[in-house]
């Protein structure tokens, strides 16, 4: 569990948010190192698909723009290519900050209706259950998480592609593949969750 978000006053800016990011987000303690050079935004391959580039996201965190940061599509459109992190002259883990902000956005309900977040959830479900992503199940779970009718509609729309993939052997029928030691993976993930909880408790 993460420490509660600060209550934002009537204006869009709350310095408490910057402090909260510093204390609770992975890499947030490096925020002060940013000199706003923009190497991250310049390097981002999908910057044009983002509401705000990584540089501006950091400036907005500092200015305490909680709602705009947490509801920004930047957190979800990031492909984790790590170019920003590699190129940052100040060694700021930009990708980690953005990914953890995405997790926090989910935790605090900023991403309930975001398709990207729903897809990520389906993806994670498959990965943690089988140790692999099963395209059929990930897609199906994702489509139906948008609603029953929408699930049917999207499923039909993609039927032809799916059949084509089966025909050419790109997608199998039958039980989903699992990794050999699924119990081991489950144990690893359980331990990771434990560690995260301990860290959260320490910070509190």
């Amino acid at each position: 569990m993460t420490a509660a978000l600060p209550e934002t006053a009537e204006n869009r800016y709350d310095l408490g948010f910057a402090r909260w990011v510093r204390d609770n987000v992975e890499g947030g303690d490096k925020l002060s190192l940013c000199m706003q050079c923009g190497a991250c935004s310049g390097s981002c391959p999908i910057g044009t698909q983002m509401d705000h580039g990584p540089r501006k996201i950091i400036a907005m965190i500092r200015a305490g723009m909680k709602d705009e940061v947490l509801s920004s599509n930047t957190l979800w459109n990031c492909t984790s290519c790590y170019r920003c992190t590699v190129r940052c002259p100040r060694g700021i883990p930009v990708t980690s900050i953005i990914q953890d902000l995405a997790a926090k956005a989910v935790e605090f309900g900023y991403a309930d209706k975001k398709e990207n977040a729903l897809f990520a959830k389906s993806f994670w479900w498959s990965t943690s259950a089988f140790g692999r992503t099963d395209e059929r199940l990930v897609t199906a779970r994702y489509y139906f998480s948008l609603g029953f009718l929408e699930g049917i509609r999207r499923g039909l729309a993609n039927l032809k592609i799916a059949l084509g993939m089966v025909r050419t052997g790109r997608m199998h029928l039958g039980m989903p593949h699992k990794i050999k030691d699924i119990k081991g993976l489950t144990a690893i993930l359980a331990r990771a969750a434990e560690i995260e909880a301990e860290e959260a408790n320490d910070e509190l």
Partner: protein
């Protein structure tokens, strides 16, 4: 020709024609020898393959030793080089520049080049005719190595200690009752040693103890300097301690009067005064010293704090890189005391120069957030509205416990505790702007108008800002109360910094023998002020030693000559006393000028000013340059060879011309170049002489003038420009084109530009046509 009443020695000239460095290949040395022994009537003319060789030097030395010659005319390289080799005690040395300004900047073997070489020789012979060896002035009395240090802060303490260690007796004068100044109040100091990352302990107490324990230093607290007369070597100062006067003769004076804080309530819109939790950096330093990190309003802990750096010079004229370093220091100290604190630094430009970059990075790594933008306002509830250029909108940031405003250091170039001097205010204004003395001179005799123009002493900051334009006076009375004709103040630069030129001539003021150091000169940290004090002390020692030997200090180091006044024809016009850049000339009660020789820097500005040409130096005088101008063989207009006379300042323009030769930039063959000590020494008579002699154009090449002047004598080039403007008017009244006289500013690095400048001017003069006076 000056007549000092000294013994006249018969001049025996010898001309030495050097053939080295390709001179013999490029010009006709046989013709030069024929000219020397013929027209120039100098039978003693020798030639050598390289006079700078041991053989060549020995040949000249033998002639001097045998008494064959006492004036050595060497036609070889530039007078700026080989000065150590061509130095023959007992003989005067005159140099004709045949290398840099003839063979290296003109095509070899051409008629024009040979004409130029012949003229260079003629000029040298003319110069020798009016050149007498300078003798030391007799008046100098020297007090010995006793140094007065004014100001007992870290700068003054360091200066006193350094001077004592260098062997001087020191009197250290402090206005208040304690030593240590502002530095005593600092909780910690800026880092000055590697790794430059952490504030370091304040060790001012050790420095105070060292000064108090030094037997060579006499400390006088509660003391003001109430009068300063005399000059370097023997300043006559009056020290007033608790109402009691004490007279003292000192060799030189170091002024370390430091600074005072900028008034934070003048920072418009930054909320100072609206809340007790908006404090200045000086006040925050007290909070840090006390160790009580609490809000002033309600005693709550400081958890979220903003520092505001207003780098905008309109809002904050005294903000500097130092202000930014102080903010970093204070923020780091706060974070150390309150590790959980959230600290913002709002800045426009962060000026962390040099090693301060490490300090800045330390602050960032520690978690201090530097937010770029312009602070538009600070409300009474401590809401800061920041125009954040990186987000692109105005960001209202609230929730701060305290807002710290960075201020700045206002130089104490006057004593604000004193009433402005009755005589001083207008004269200080005159000196703020190098041109002002001219305006004053123009108005001299119109006392009423002048009195009206003197601005009333104003409240501090407004006046400080206006000082940049030289229009208003600094507030307060004089620090040294100089008993000089040019007033009691030390002249100041823009914004009231007391100095002469803070890059080219640091520590120097426009009053010889008085040196400034520390924040009175520019904003600086404790470590910088300590270094500065060392520099000023060394300058003071130079001044005392120079006074001892009756020679000049920088830039004419070691010059024995000094201006001599022919009072028999002096009209008491006072131009020399007003225009002297260093206040060296006073007026006697009867109105005649009197020189304080140890104050004089030998620029010759007085000589250029004198309308009756009665101010002269033994080795540099009106007749000498006049003869040199006339020595040039000016062809008639049918030869189609115009002649352009160039007066080149020996400090920057002449070296630039030499450098042009070294770089082989080709110069128009029509110019004839005469070095002068400073454009300020150029007399208007030389211009008329040149026009009468048939020159077609005259160019004055000097240093940059104005607020950011580079003139080595402060205002010589500005004065020359002013004078030439009036010459231009005279030319027009004589139906001559005013383009025939031109003034240009060049720097020492301008070798390519100076060539182009002269070549273009030659084309322009050709287009205008020949001087109608030619041949008359």
């Amino acid at each position: 020709m000056p007549d000092g009443g000294t013994m006249v020695i018969e001049k025996k000239s010898g001309i030495y024609l050097c053939e080295g460095c390709g001179i013999a290949d490029a010009i006709d040395v046989d013709a030069l020898e024929a000219l020397a022994t013929g027209d120039l009537k100098t039978p003693h003319c020798k030639r050598h393959a390289a006079y700078c060789s041991a053989e060549g030097v020995a040949e000249i030395a033998a002639d001097v030793k045998n008494g064959d010659v006492n004036q050595v005319l060497i036609a070889a390289c530039s007078p700026r080089v080989m000065t150590d080799r061509f130095n023959f005690p007992g003989a005067q040395i005159i140099r004709a520049n045949m290398r840099e300004q003839v063979i290296w900047s003109h095509p070899p073997g051409e008629e024009d080049t040979n004409m130029l070489a012949a003229d260079q020789l003629r000029i040298a012979v003319a110069q020798a005719g009016q050149f007498s060896p300078p003798e030391p002035h007799a008046e100098a009395e020297v007090a010995g190595a006793l140094l007065l240090v004014v100001g007992g802060g870290v700068t003054g303490l360091t200066a006193a200690l350094e001077a004592a260690h260098t062997g001087a007796e020191v009197i250290l004068v402090e206005k208040t009752d304690t030593l240590g100044g502002w530095t005593r109040k600092w909780s910690r100091l800026l880092p000055e040693r590697p790794p430059y990352r952490d504030p370091q302990p304040n060790d001012i107490a050790d420095l105070i103890a060292a000064v108090e324990g030094d037997k060579a230093i006499t400390v006088m607290t509660n003391t003001l300097v109430t009068s300063t007369a005399g000059g370097p070597g023997a300043f006559d100062v009056t020290l007033t301690q608790n109402g009691k006067n004490q007279s003292q003769s000192v060799g030189a004076i170091v002024v370390a009067t430091g600074w005072r804080p900028y008034d934070p309530s003048l920072l418009e819109g930054l909320g100072y005064g609206a809340s007790p939790d908006v404090v200045s950096d000086i006040e925050f330093e007290e909070i840090l010293s006390s160790g009580e990190m609490k809000r002033k309003s309600n005693g709550d802990a400081l958890n979220t704090v903003a520092f505001i750096i207003s780098g905008d010079s309109d809002r904050m004229p005294y903000s500097s890189g130092l202000s930014d370093r102080i903010v970093i220091k204070q923020a780091l100290q706060l974070l150390e005391a309150v590790p959980e604190a959230m600290i913002y630094v709002m800045h426009e430009d962060l000026r962390a120069h040099g090693m301060a970059e490490e300090f800045y990075r330390q602050a960032q790594e520690a978690g201090i957030i530097f937010q770029n933008g312009v602070v538009k306002s600070v409300g009474a509830d401590l809401t800061i509205t920041l125009e954040d250029r990186l987000i692109g909108e105005d960001v209202p940031m609230s929730g701060f416990d305290m807002v710290v405003l960075s201020t700045g250091m206002v130089p104490n170039s006057t004593n604000v505790d004193l009433e402005p001097a009755a005589k001083g205010a207008d004269q200080l204004v005159d000196d703020v702007n190098p041109l002002a003395a001219l305006l004053a001179a123009a108005k001299a005799g119109d006392g009423e108008e002048k009195a009206e123009e003197a601005p009333a002493p104003d409240t501090s900051e407004e006046a400080d800002q206006d000082g940049a334009n030289g229009e208003a006076a600094m507030p307060g009375g004089p620090i040294l109360n100089l008993q000089y004709r040019q007033g009691p103040h030390l002249p100041v630069l823009a914004n009231g910094y007391a100095d002469s030129h803070f890059i080219c001539f640091p520590y120097e003021t426009r009053r010889t023998g008085i040196y400034t150091c520390g924040p009175v000169r520019r904003a600086m940290s404790v470590a910088e002020a300590r270094q500065d004090a060392q520099g000023a002390v060394l300058k003071a020692f130079q001044a005392m030693r120079a006074a001892d030997k009756a020679v000049s200090v920088h830039p004419r180091v070691g010059d024995l000559s000094y201006p001599e006044f022919g009072l028999d024809i002096c009209t008491k016009c006072r131009r020399c006393t007003v225009e002297c850049p260093f206040g060296a000339i006073d007026e006697m009660e009867d109105g005649y000028p009197v020189l304080n020789p140890t104050r004089c820097r030998r620029c010759g500005t007085c000589m250029g000013a004198c309308p009756v040409r009665t101010i002269n130096f033994k080795n540099y005088n009106i007749s000498m340059i006049t003869d040199m101008i006339k020595a040039v063989d000016v062809p008639d207009e049918f030869a189609e060879k115009p002649r352009i006379l160039v007066f080149a300042c020996e400090n920057d323009a002449y070296p630039a011309l030499d450098m042009a030769g070294i770089n082989r930039h080709q110069l128009t063959p029509y110019v004839r170049i005469l070095p002068v000590r400073c454009l300020g020494s150029v007399s208007a008579t030389w211009v008329s002489t040149a026009l009468e002699s048939g020159y077609d154009g005259i160019m004055l090449l000097g240093c940059k003038s104005g607020d950011d002047y580079q003139c080595h004598f402060v205002k010589g080039s500005a004065i020359a420009q002013e004078r030439m403007e009036s010459v231009g008017a005279t030319l027009e009244s004589m139906m001559l084109e005013k383009e025939r006289v031109r003034t240009e500013e060049v720097s020492i690095a301008d070798s390519a530009r100076v060539t182009a400048l002269l070549n273009d001017y030659a084309d322009e003069i050709k287009a205008i046509g020949y001087n109608p006076f030619k041949g008359f």
